[in-house]
Symmetry: C2
Subunit: 777 residues, 2 copies
């Protein structure tokens, strides 16, 4: 009878995957990763809910629960400290490399511009090569910003390798090379990824591969725990990158997480606060000059407190125009990068790592030539009158990182406005663009040249095989056209107290808004990095406009990139067509493969080989002979059972579940960032294939169900809000046993003295169905 | 056969409500409201999903959808402007009343302290009396802060009268009286309520009672739309109260809403930005002196930019101590106010409005006597040396609102430190407590006296029948002990650059954290009102400690108060005991009352009379004779149908659903903030009771279902995350028709050209079950 069941099951094999266009499968492999990680599956966000696991959990005492809570907070602390230190290390290294580079170049060009040019190019090339070499050879998942992948991870899609220890190392050292090498990219996105990696490694108790693992810290088995840690890590990354702790919390909330719980906010907040303290302490320590060139520069804090404090209503028009420009240029940026990345993935990167390295080196050469060459062609301007503008040092003294750079000028009292922004570190260039009380420092021509060239470089650099963030390039682009608009305003509204630097800031906000489409978090980050709250309403206005304009054309940068990488993000709203479709229609082409409760091992193997499903219903006979769905068994759990062979039995009858404690529960925990086992890797003898396996202790006895004619939009909401991975579509029920309303959920605990609230993994549940199954024996 | 069905239904009447302790029912009526609104029901957050409603929706064209979207944003704009103007109006009135009061008192005490005392007392008494009179006679729901009720509304519990036009008016004018009258309460909580009222009135298209309603703006029928508007209103209220737009968004997110959608963030943000611009414009307009005493004071912005910029590690210990004190005093405050409010509700307020008015007047007298009398008993101090502390005017010139108040002093060059904080408006007192560069302004004795007296007054005042916020009193209490700690730090760590004002700020944050238990939003609000970002890590530290300490003792102020008022908030986490309980067990004492598809009117009436359930399953016979649950019918919809009588039919057979367009869909929309119809109000003739009603067009065909042995914790998550009101517990399914996975939800829209995403109310859905029912006829 059992094999009959199974035969039916196999015959009615569900064909979900075959319905998908085959290109979808293909696209997923385009992720720049080693071939062994092809076609990776999405993570299972449902908590492990089988009987055996719960039994193991139940054996843990109260002490374990306290240990778990303490560890959760300890990990948040460690994530904060770790991310803070990583940020300090990256900044320190970048500032020092850049410092040496410019110091060397400036001292050499006193004698020969040509030799200086060569040294500058080679220095950049060396750094960029080190970066791309590390990434391509050692940590391919460290390329790019990593934010789309992290967003995917938190939405439920696992990109292989994205949270490994090697990726962390590659990201940190790759960032130093690519940013220090003067490419048109930033170090902020990579820092978010770094924070997420640190968090994930902590969550899985270290890296097994490098023997850095300890079983004492391996208590976070559920994906929810790990996801929470990664959320903390993201917030820590933003907090560290911008020294913006509140911005970090909001970024994690608005941009990254898919399932936010207000309890988590408290822990994320703590992590961000720790980062702020760590970074601040490190910078205080560096003040005494122990950190080389890392001093005033480094962390992006552009204090514009000396700028415009007030604004008049006439200025709202030019500010609105900045918003519109930001929306247009941002949307264009998203579109262009999408095209180029897609082309690159299709043609260029398929040819192997050499092409990737060559590509980055060529881009580095072009960047160096442009940033050195264009200022050479530009005529110098005379320094502003020192009596009219006190406090301005022009030109800046040699060996410092100030404004008004003297580069290829005939006279000593001249400065090169294009070199001030182009032949400088990005942090300093932004500081110069934001600077107040420096009217007419830049000519419109220089700004336009810079805007066009830098925009093109940013577009081309995006998507190469180096760690790359888009925040700082975005701020550079935005502040350039912002300052241009500011210059026009100064020219037309002569009487107003206008600061060009303020317009540059608004421009930066508008471009980021137009490209990344963040709202509240971006606003708070802009306020925190400029340390000026008074401009908040203006930043809000500009962001509102630029996001609205950008949304008219395409999706945000991260969404576009996630889509391109085949990371299927579930949006927060169901699509319109889903309202006209029922759950049954959505699954009508499927044939459901189900298992009976006790199943022959050979049959499991053949089912697992014949399809790629990740979950199978388990059906059993009730007491009156009718069929009953008793739960969901996951493919990954079946593979664990097949591999361990411990639970194989000779009889085709249900086992005694009270004896199930042989499994180490952590067997069922899927390793982070790996593909997991494959059925092909499991070898079973002929004799073993003839044995039986009782699935009851290992299945999830109550998966979520929906009636067949529920609209797909409602199903979508259920799926999305609860972060599910499988929903059973079942026939319309024949009767209602009870109704659950608010009142039923608000009953006081009667004889339940326990008041602490725990994660769902750590407590034993009773399941009457299973108990009744037990009692049948 | 049908009546058989029904007889069964009635016999098996579900007794959910009877299981609840009767005191719970009683408690709900203790809400200070007119008796006609007793025992109000919670709102239904499920979208109206019956066939008739969808038919009506489907008839609306694309134009209607655009109109709907435009109106949504227009309303956000209007909410922002309205709340901003309300805030300006309240502040203007309060500042002017207070200004006149203190000006009059100070000019009279030049001649006679006794007459001045009398004038001061009477002025306060008059203002407070006007407030309590308005509230008790006209708008009883305007008493208190309103935040627990709004929180309840957004969680799904409707407190009657909380969002009416009269409540709005009562709140605005009541706040002016109670705050202007010098009671120990603030105007910030009431402003949040004001914003919510404005939003709700807009959402329902004005107030019907005062003929301010227009059908053109009555398009927000679903509770979700209205809830979204109220969320915007809350954020606007906070943004207006503190001039903290980001804080407003975060407050709405963290503290108020239960179901947050990231799309909403964008609109809430917009509303907050509008408020910021409105308030700023109004204040600019007032700068020219057109607003009387409203000038430098008014909106709470305590600029401490002149204060401490840096902190050393030795200071972290006293700061941590401030956090601990804040946690302890905050938890004590919550506990004391809970006891007093509970006592007041049980004994005092049952005796009628006269007692309420008398109570408030006595508290006003006591407050006036203490705030005038205690400074009189205090010895004056000599002014600080004007050469040592430049920029300090001591004593302040007569007629201004500065620091160093000369009150009952022997010499002109003296000031009374207790009068500086006690005999002053709260805004000025806080400004003085936060002030930098004013070392040794206060004696420890004065601060301790003030702390004890003001803490007691705040506890006693809380829960009286006037609009009352707890933010400003909390800041007053916190900054007092904060400054005390600061004085100790100055004394012990002599060498450090310590500002007492900074400690006062941290104290304020710690008390609010210890009492309200907010984290991120409070932090951002504190930063925005002090306009100083550098203290952010310190504020975070203090908040972390104070919240942790407070959580050790009890729940947050708003949760405690909501519980006391019988507002059953669903927390975001299920209780521990729910993990050990199944859905069946949770509903095992219930007897489910279900209706057949076509039912006799008389039977409906008797079922509705015999129990209080809000939803009933509808069961029909399938084609093979088996029973099938075809949906859920709401009590409120049944009442609408019984009242209209339009759909009554003679035959006991199903009707033709294609003809169902007679109902105006808005009939099914429950009016906001009212109890709705009662079965007793509907009168039917004997003949009508013999007619039949086909329920199929009016039921929700696919309510959410759970299998009987799902753990209650999982059910809770489903209920809470989706904001449901009814879940059917059904038997374990016999088979699985299909599995829905991420892939099924990510299919590209095939022939569905529409790409716009809409609210679920505005689009027609097909329901095959209903169609098949139709085809049976």
């Amino acid at each position: 009878m059992l094999s009959n069941h199974l035969q039916n099951g196999i015959e009615t094999a569900r064909l979900v995957w075959s319905r998908l266009p085959s290109s979808e499968e293909g696209e997923r492999t385009e992720i720049e990763l080693p071939s062994h990680s092809r076609g990776a599956e999405s993570l299972d966000y449902e908590v492990i809910e089988n009987y055996a696991y719960r039994e193991a959990q139940a054996q843990r005492g109260k002490l374990w629960v306290s240990y778990y809570v303490v560890l959760k907070w300890l990990f948040s602390l460690i994530i904060g400290i770790g991310t803070g230190l990583a940020a300090v290390f990256i900044n320190l290294a970048v500032e020092n490399f850049s410092g040496w580079k410019y110091a060397a170049t400036f001292s050499i060009i006193q004698h020969s511009y040509f030799v200086g040019f060569l040294v500058y190019i080679l220095f950049n090339l060396g750094l960029v090569f080190s970066s791309v070499y590390i990434v391509t050879k050692f940590a391919p998942a460290a390329a790019g910003s990593g934010i789309p992948e992290i967003k995917g991870y938190l939405n439920g899609v696992d990109t292989p390798g994205i949270l490994l220890f090697r990726t962390l190392i590659g990201k940190v050292f790759g960032s130093i090379g690519s940013v220090g090498g003067g490419l048109a990219l930033g170090k902020e996105g990579p820092l978010v990824h770094t924070g997420a990696c640190i968090a994930s490694l902590l969550g899985q108790g270290g890296s097994k591969r490098y023997h850095l693992s300890s079983k004492w810290v391996r208590v976070f088995e559920s994906d929810r725990d790990r996801r929470d840690l990664v959320t903390c890590g993201c917030a820590a990354g933003v907090a560290a990158a911008f020294r913006a702790p509140v911005g970090g919390v909001l970024f994690a909330l608005e941009e990254v997480t898919s399932w936010w719980r207000s309890q988590l906010m408290w822990r994320v907040f703590f992590t961000s606060a720790v980062v702020a303290v760590v970074v601040r302490s490190a910078m205080n320590w560096c003040k005494s000059g122990k950190c080389g060139h890392f001093g005033s520069g480094g962390f992006i804090i552009w204090d514009i407190s000396g700028g415009q404090e007030d604004y008049s209503f006439q200025e709202l028009l030019p500010m609105a125009i900045i918003g519109v420009i930001g929306g247009l240029l941002g949307a264009l940026f998203n579109q262009l990068t999408l095209f180029i990345t897609s082309w690159r993935r299709k043609y260029l990167h398929k040819k192997g790592n050499r092409i990737k390295i060559l590509e980055v080196c060529i881009i580095s050469l072009v960047t160096s030539v442009i940033s050195f060459g264009l200022p050479l062609l530009r005529r110098c301007s005379a320094c502003p009158d020192s009596e009219m503008s006190p406090g301005i040092e022009c030109p800046r003294p040699p060996g410092t990182d100030g404004n008004f750079v003297n580069f290829y000028c005939a006279k000593d009292s001249e400065y090169n406005d294009l070199a001030t922004i182009f032949f400088n570190t990005q942090d300093d260039a932004i500081r110069n663009l934001f600077s107040a009380k420096t009217f007419h420092e830049y000519s419109a021509q220089s700004l336009v040249i810079f805007l066009v060239m830098f925009y093109s470089l940013a577009v081309v650099t995006f998507g190469t095989a180096v760690p790359a963030g888009q925040f700082v390039p975005g701020i550079m682009i935005g502040s350039t056209y912002g300052r241009l608009v500011g210059m026009l305003v100064v020219k037309f509204y002569r009487k107003l107290n206008v600061e060009e630097g303020t317009y540059a800031l608004l421009g930066a906000a508008s471009f980021l808004g137009g490209s990344m489409r963040m709202t509240v978090s971006l606003c708070v980050i802009m306020v925190e990095i400029t340390n000026n709250l008074k401009l908040l309403p203006l930043i809000m206005l500009v962001l509102l406009i630029s996001k609205a304009v950008g949304d008219f054309f395409n999706k945000g940068l991260y969404e576009e990139q996630a889509q391109l990488r085949g990371i299927p993000l579930l949006e927060s709203r169901p699509k319109l067509y889903m309202r006209n479709m029922t759950a049954k229609e959505a699954s009508k082409n499927q044939k459901v493969v189900s298992f009976p409760r006790v199943v022959k091992v050979g049959n499991i193997v053949s089912v697992l080989r014949s399809n790629k499903h990740n979950g199978y219903p388990v059906v059993d006979q009730g007491q009156n002979g009718e069929t009953l769905v008793i739960g969901l068994i996951l493919r990954s759990h079946l593979l664990v059972l097949l591999q361990s062979k411990m639970d194989f039995q000779n009889s085709p009858f249900p086992c005694d579940m009270r004896g199930i404690n042989r499994h180490n529960f952590s067997d069922f925990v899927k390793p982070v960032s790996s593909k997991g086992m494959s059925i092909e890797e499991i070898h079973l003898t002929e004799d073993e294939l003839e044995l039986y396996l009782d699935l009851a202790p290992f299945l999830n006895p109550s998966p979520y169900i929906v009636p067949e004619d529920m609209s797909l939009a409602k199903v979508y909401n259920l799926f999305r809000q609860l972060g599910l991975r499988h929903i059973f579509v079942v026939p319309r029920p024949s009767r209602v046993i009870g109704l659950i309303t608010r009142k039923d959920l608000l009953l006081e605990e009667r004889d339940h003295s326990a008041t602490t609230e725990l994660q769902s993994t750590s407590v034993r549940s009773q399941h009457p169905l299973l108990d009744s199954l037990l009692n049948q024996e």
